[in-house]
């Protein structure tokens, strides 16, 4: 079996597995977010936080919950890193520097997991397990809660109430993420991922000399890193490290874990709005983009025609031999099209176009299928914009799922799609215009530009993967990316919840033959086109000066 065939078969296996699993998982999540029962452990948690899980919230109250909880998370994580020196299991590491501690706290709370540190040289067991891993769970649950609130906005009529944030948050953790993570971690351990609290080992190398390895609760963090589309690796090499991702099978399993919840949420959405087909239309849009990107990525990486690469069978630089071009390409596309940011290869070493595809994936706004929760609400926002333009073309005030898209709705959606491009472009141009940030670039020319563009694209879209090359551990980059991650995460959430509130208050319009149907292939095609054109037009000049200039050279 040639490497191309192997790559294609891996992609097909993934699609098959997702097709099977998204039905029960989607159904399960719909039940979780619609149920009126509380588990005992949940009741303890509500008592601990001091909230009434049955109180319905208006969008403002829901938002207050999201922001308060997340702010507390940033503060806690920051302090935990700053006092690392006195914590048990610190492995002798010093407290983390303020700028880096802020960056890391912002990064994990914003579900970005951008890492300007080397995990195995900076964070001890307590920070990794009680700080970072916990945020991996709860930041994912916050994303899912906001998405569910938006779905309720579509599903409910003539009420401003969006459910209860605390109950959505807690259930997301206890009934979805934890059970899946336990099963996933056991499978990973069975496949060779490590799980221990050992200290630092001195290991001899084949070539002489020695190397320091440390163990850790890797499998438990690895599984939620993928499942919650977080992406922050225990080790600096992330999923390229054999302790995190030892075999081609674990590689495929990790990709599967990344896609599982975002894909299944489309079904949850369909069930909650009362039309599974609407969920399929959204899923079809995501799948079309994902398959297209995988195909493009494989094509550009396999068909590289420079001498040395041809001998290697494609662009193998920066890729693990055990994953090959196929497995690495699928991983790279998946991690950038979701807000994961875990990597099993160096994106900087991809071909010019390949790096561009990874970047474009993030620029789409992490919606195919996107981060847990954030992918669904991001896609629904794009659907609203597409419906608005297309809806006019059928001669009606545009409506989506029976809710009219009026001035208020389009205002919120329009500002939403403005946020990440603003953050990416403004901060990239600042980085280039200021005197010191360019010193962080490793490469000159178009590739150096791509390093900076990639960094801010990754931060603003809460991806967290890095292009490598760029030294992001400077005061400026730590502060700038930290801010960008927080703004890129929480400003959109404000708009999504405001939108949910305004949709929930509406009286639905019954569908007639004159209504634009949004569960058809035509609509899926339109949505793909709208996403491609709006994103493409926004970033075309920047992409032209980075990956395109490199790829066409």
């Amino acid at each position: 079996m040639g490497p191309v065939t192997a790559g294609v078969l891996q992609a097909l296996a993934l699609i098959g597995a997702l097709a099977i699993v998204h039905v029960p998982l989607g159904n399960h999540m719909a039940r979780v977010y619609s149920s009126s029962r509380h588990l005992r452990v949940e009741k303890w948690l509500y008592k601990g936080i001091g909230v009434d899980p049955d109180a319905e919230m208006l969008w403002t109250a829901y938002l207050r919950g999201v922001l308060a909880f997340s702010f507390a998370g940033v503060l806690f994580l920051y302090l935990l890193q700053r006092v690392q020196g006195i914590l048990p299991g610190a492995l002798g590491f010093d407290p983390v520097e303020p700028a880096q501690a802020f960056n890391t706290a912002a990064s994990f709370v914003a579900n970005t997991n951008w890492q300007s540190y080397h995990g195995e040289q900076t964070m001890g067991h307590v920070v990794q397990t009680a700080g970072l891993a916990v945020q991996n769970f709860v930041s994912a649950a916050v994303g899912m809660a906001v998405a569910v609130a938006l779905v309720r906005g579509f599903a409910r009529a003539r009420t401003g109430e969006l459910g209860n944030f605390w109950s959505d948050l807690v259930r997301g953790v206890t009934r979805v993420l934890v059970p899946l993570a336990v099963v996933g971690a056991l499978v990973l351990v069975a496949c060779g991922v490590i799980q221990n609290f050992s200290g630092i080992h001195e290991v001899g190398q084949f070539t002489g000399g020695s190397q320091q390895w440390n163990g850790g609760a890797v499998a438990s963090q690895e599984v939620i890193k993928e499942l919650g589309t977080n992406g922050g690796g225990y080790f600096n090499a992330n999923s390229a490290h054999p302790f995190e991702n030892p075999t081609p099978f674990t590689n495929l399993l990790e990709i599967f874990l990344i896609l599982m919840i975002p894909v299944s949420l489309t079904r949850t959405f369909g069930l909650m709005v009362g039309s599974v087909r609407q969920g399929y239309a959204i899923l079809a849009t995501m799948a079309t983009i994902w398959v297209g990107f995988v195909a493009l990525m494989m094509w550009t990486e396999f068909a590289h025609h420079e001498g040395a690469l041809r001998i290697a069978g494609g662009a193998m630089e920066g890729k693990e031999l055990r994953f090959g071009i196929g497995g690495s390409s699928i991983f790279a596309v998946t991690t950038t099209l979701t807000s994961t940011g875990a990597v099993d290869s160096s994106h900087s070493s991809y071909t010019g176009f390949g790096g561009g595809i990874a970047m474009l994936g993030m620029m789409l706004g992490e919606i195919a299928p996107g981060g847990v929760g954030s992918g669904l609400y991001g896609m629904l926002i794009m659907a609203i914009v597409a419906v608005f333009i297309a809806g006019l073309m059928v001669g009606r005030t545009p409506e989506y799922l029976g809710k009219k898209i009026g001035p208020r709705e389009i205002k919120l959606a329009a500002v939403y799609i403005l946020i990440t491009p603003t953050l990416v472009l403004v901060f990239t141009s600042l980085a280039l215009a200021l005197p010191t940030p360019p010193d962080s670039m490793l490469n000159p020319g178009a590739h150096g530009f791509s390093e900076v563009l990639y960094a801010f694209t990754s931060a603003a879209n809460n991806n967290g993967s890095a292009f490598a090359g760029l030294n992001a551990d400077t005061g400026w980059f730590n502060t700038a990316t930290g801010l960008v991650m927080l703004l890129g995460r929480f400003l959109p959430m404000v708009l999504v919840l405001a939108l949910a509130g305004s949709l929930a208050a509406q009286q639905p319009v019954p569908a007639t033959a004159g209504t634009l149907r949004t569960e058809t292939p035509v609509f899926t095609g339109l949505l793909v086109g709208a996403i491609a054109i709006i994103v493409g037009l926004t970033y075309f000049p920047a992409l032209a000066l980075g990956p395109l200039a490199e790829g066409l050279a």
Partner: protein, 726 residues
């Protein structure tokens, strides 16, 4: 309430219908039509716009462009420009490049770009000015009607019309111009309303009832009426009309606001993409001039739709005005596009309004031909529409030539009277009578004749089917006897069935409102093919139906003219008041149909949809255009530093300057090219949303992608002949 929903039944085609109807129409003008229901449009029974949904087509000529030029220049005032965010950005860009060119006067490229940017702004203003210009002509005509009048109060004092107050009683006699809007409280008069409606036939206005409203500026032709003024001077119907057609009262509609928000946000996106470009370019090793950046920005922001947006709105209102419909707000026009339930009055909208003979049914022992012959003879003296229709049916269906009263010598004609309820003729020793069942039966019995035993069954059958039975009887040598029954029925206007079919495809439900009993109503509803009906409808029932539909999230449109329609008109999302109606009705509705043609509701819906479609289509086109512009400009800017980017120059444009200039010129010219489309509206044909989306996506989406590649290439080829640029 007797409303129910069911699937429309298929009906046998009725081939004789159209011809009968044509006949009826030509006769009705002479015989039965009351003077106030003038019929410039009702002679188009299907209500189909003669221009196939492209109303106002052909109203655009190059001469209008030139005439609107001064106005277009006046609109360059930044305070006016600021109303459209997209075009204001172009305006600022033009100022910037002009200033830049002044500081570097030798830069021919800079000057050329500046000129074309100013032209872009000017073309946008021109589009709006042309759209407004069409309304202005109409407003001028209206102003002529609004001459200063002197009002004679009922108490004998005279005041200028402008000083009348609400509640004043004024006297108007033949030759007087009515000084203000009001209701007739005393007397009857014929009034010339041509100043407003453009229709020269006078109408009757009388106190009480539903024809009491008079409009200021119209002229009393005969008799004397006393009018109670109901509107303050300056707020009269004619004043509002002038404001409306001039666009002075124009406010942005919700959908227009929403679209403006989207366009503004796209403008910000492109502003960002352009503003962040200089540091990127510096890093890449090239310097971008201000002129080039502004040119890129103007090409990318959605100028096409930004330039045409207000023209589309004005033209949409104008299309209604062309059809003699006044919308009191743009919001109402938009709502018309969203309507999902149409309430249509049966009489005058769905049916012709008069019962017509549909069949001759013989009783046992008689033949159909006998009945037809007798029916025809007995109806010759009957000048009612029903009577005429019997003659017509006999001719059309039984080939009986119409005999004239003079042909039959020594015939004694008995005309129809309300007392006898019969008409007939005594000729050649035969007496023939036709009329209401009771009267004819009595006439036969009086003469010792017999009434066939199946007569009653036949008559009841017709009643049950929603028709009216008329008996035909004869007395001759064989004695007096009933020959048969004439089946009179409400005749559905030609083409209504197809119309309702179209509406159904558009997702609009039709509900027929009638005062008839449920049986009759159902028969007519079936024949017309409406989705639902409301029988024995009272104004309260109507109101209840509207609120029920609205509670389900539906938008409801209706027509009405009476005072008791006013609450329902106000409640409906689109309430079209007939101009012949009362002032209460006209106040309550959000549109007034000057022709008082209820069928027009269907056209109003189509115009509402067309307005939205035009906006959506041009927005899609405008955004899709950007792809080609990037392929023209990006290689032009950066191919010098990254030669690989020249591969993006898929159009093979001759030089960087020419590429940028071609994109800017295309961007400006496409506005002018699309002005006629914006004014006329995108062609609208009733079809399902899915088909319409596919069609418009193909035309305006794909078309918008491809067209600029071709256009820019052509402009570049032309430019390359000009030395110094190519």
């Amino acid at each position: 309430m007797a409303t129910r929903i069911r699937k429309p039944r298929t009906q046998q085609p009725r081939t004789q219908r159209p011809r009968i109807q044509k006949h009826e129409d030509s006769m009705s003008a002479a015989t039965s039509t009351p003077p106030e229901s003038r019929a410039p449009h009702s002679d188009l029974p299907a209500g189909r716009p003669s221009t196939e949904g492209r109303g106002g087509a052909g109203l655009f000529s190059p001469a209008q462009l030139i005439a609107s030029l001064p106005e277009a220049f006046r609109k360059l005032d930044p305070r006016v420009m600021a109303k459209s965010p997209v075009m204001f950005v172009v305006w600022i860009g033009s100022v910037l490049t002009t200033v830049f060119s002044v500081t570097d006067p030798g830069d021919r490229f800079g000057w050329t770009i500046s000129v074309w940017l100013w032209l872009t702004v000017l073309f946008a203003n021109l589009a709006e000015a042309v759209a407004e210009g069409r309304g202005k002509a109409q407003a001028d005509t209206l102003r002529k009607a609004k001459t200063d009048t002197v009002a004679r109060r009922a108490d004998g004092t005279t005041v200028p019309g402008t000083e009348l107050g609400v509640g004043d009683l004024v006297v108007c006699e033949a030759g007087d111009v009515i000084p203000g809007d009001g209701d007739v409280v005393e007397g009857v008069a014929s009034v010339d309303e041509s100043a407003i409606t453009g229709e020269s036939a006078p109408v009757i206005r009388e106190s009480g009832g539903d024809r009491s409203a008079v409009t200021g500026g119209t002229k009393v032709l005969s008799d004397r009426i006393v009018v109670r003024i109901t509107t303050k001077p300056g707020e009269t119907f004619i004043d509002r009309m002038i404001n409306l057609v001039e666009g002075a009262a124009r406010q942005k509609t919700p959908n227009e606001v929403a679209l403006n928000v989207l366009l503004a946000s796209l403008t910000v996106v492109f502003l960002l993409a352009c503003a962040t470009l200089p540091p990127f370019a510096d890093y890449a090793g090239t310097r971008l001039t201000l002129v080039v950046l502004v040119a890129l920005l103007v090409c990318l922001i959605p100028t096409t739709i930004g330039a045409l947006l207000s023209a589309i709105g004005i033209a949409g209102m104008d299309r209604l005005v062309q059809r003699n419909v006044l919308a009191m707000s743009g919001r109402a026009v938009e709502a018309a596009g969203d309507v999902s339930t149409l309430l249509l009055d049966k009489t005058g909208t769905i049916t012709l309004g008069n019962r017509q003979a549909a069949a001759f049914v013989p009783v046992r022992g008689a033949t159909e031909a006998e009945v037809a012959d007798a029916a025809q003879l007995s109806s010759l003296a009957d000048e009612t529409p029903e009577g005429r229709s019997v003659v017509v049916l006999a001719k059309e269906k039984y080939g009986l030539r119409e005999r004239h009263q003079g042909e039959l010598v020594a015939a004694e004609w008995i005309s129809f009277t309300a007392q006898t309820r019969m008409s007939g003729v005594d000729v050649d020793g035969r007496s023939i009578r036709k009329g209401a069942a009771g009267s004819v039966t009595a006439w036969v019995r009086e003469r010792g004749g017999e009434v066939a035993e199946d007569t009653e069954r036949l008559a009841d059958g017709i009643s049950e089917a929603g028709g009216t039975p008329l008996l035909v009887a004869v007395e001759d040598g064989d004695g007096a006897r009933v020959l048969g029954v004439i089946h009179l029925k409400d005749v559905v206007k030609h083409g209504m069935r197809e119309r309702f079919e179209e509406l159904r495809r558009m997702g609009i439900k039709t509900v027929m409102i009638t005062g008839d009993n449920p049986l009759t109503a159902e028969a007519i509803a079936d024949e017309a093919g409406v989705d639902d009906f409301l029988a024995e409808a009272t104004p309260e029932d109507k109101m209840a139906l509207i609120t029920r539909e609205q509670a389900g999230g539906k938008l409801v449109a209706m027509t009405g003219d009476g005072t008791n329609d006013a609450p329902a008109l106000a409640q409906a999302d689109v309430g079209v008041a007939m101009n012949t109606g009362t002032s209460a009705a006209k106040e309550a509705g959000n549109m007034v149909d000057l022709d008082s043609d209820p069928t027009k509701l269907i056209e109003i819906v189509e115009i509402g949809k067309q307005l939205l479609i035009t906006r959506g289509a041009l927005t899609t086109f405008s955004i899709a255009n950007d792809v080609a512009k990037y392929f023209a400009i990006i290689p032009a800017l950066f191919a010098a530093v990254y030669p690989g980017l020249d591969k993006l120059n898929v159009m093979r444009l001759s030089s960087p300057d020419s590429a940028i200039l071609s994109a800017v010129i295309f961007n400006a010219l496409i506005i002018v090219v699309l002005v006629p489309l914006a004014l006329r509206g995108v062609r609208y044909r009733p079809m399902s949303a899915d088909r319409m989306l596919r069609r418009n996506l193909a035309v305006y989406g794909l078309g918008g992608l491809v067209a600029p590649f071709i256009g820019i290439k052509i402009i570049d080829m032309l430019l390359s002949f000009i030395p110094g640029i190519g």
